[in-house]
């Protein structure tokens, strides 16, 4: 069980690192939201599932799963609200310059 949880946690860390690279490298706010909401959700899911496996069957398992459900609720909602504000404020999505 410990080996499985270590594998899950390392995979989650990999996805979180990819999200951090994405938020530095991507060109504008609409593309950066992919790094924050999509990749971050997957990484947090894998990491918390790994921690729950390490913890074993107890009351803490239910609490960790509740935190996970809360993360899954809030991450897309916040990204959607922010992007709706951005597009109503008149930001234009990024386009590659064709030379």
């Amino acid at each position: 069980m410990e080996i499985l949880s270590i594998i899950f946690i390392l995979t989650g860390l990999f996805f979180l690192i990819v999200a951090a690279i994405g938020i530095i490298r991507l060109p504008d706010v609409f593309t950066r939201s992919h790094a924050v909401s999509l990749t971050d959700s997957l990484g947090a899911f894998l990491l918390l599932v790994g921690i729950a496996m390490y913890e074993g069957l107890s009351m803490n398992l239910l609490k960790i799963l509740a935190v996970l459900a809360l993360l899954y609720l809030q991450n897309p909602v916040i990204a959607h609200a922010t992007l709706r504000a951005a597009i109503r404020a008149g930001l234009k999505p990024w386009k590659e310059e064709t030379s």
């Binding site: 946690i9 860390l13 979180l16 924050v36 960790i64 935190v67 991450n75 922010t82 504000a85």
Partner: protein, 88 residues
């Protein structure tokens, strides 16, 4: 196993630095809001891992639940405010 969780803790704390760069540097205000959202996601996971390291998971998980609820309400309020105000 504690060494492994300390390693996870260090990597997560380093990732917060990348988001902090975006919060300080971001060209528009929406970049800063997105960066703050990423930092709070990392902080929630960080609190659970700290609970594992200190062997007090039942307490730290409650703290991270409260932090997640506060972050949800705060970020929605900021987004609503910016939506009505427009670009500064």
């Amino acid at each position: 196993m504690t060494t492994f969780f300390l390693f996870v803790l260090l990597v997560l704390a380093g990732l917060i630095g990348a988001y902090l760069y975006r919060v300080l540097q971001g060209p528009t205000i929406f970049d800063r809001v997105l960066g703050l959202n990423g930092i709070s996601t990392k902080a929630i996971i960080l609190l659970v891992v700290i609970g594992i390291v200190y062997d007090r998971v039942e307490m730290f998980v409650d703290i991270s639940t409260g932090y997640a609820l506060l972050n949800l309400v705060g970020a929605l309020a900021v987004a609503k405010y910016l939506e009505q105000k427009g670009l500064p």
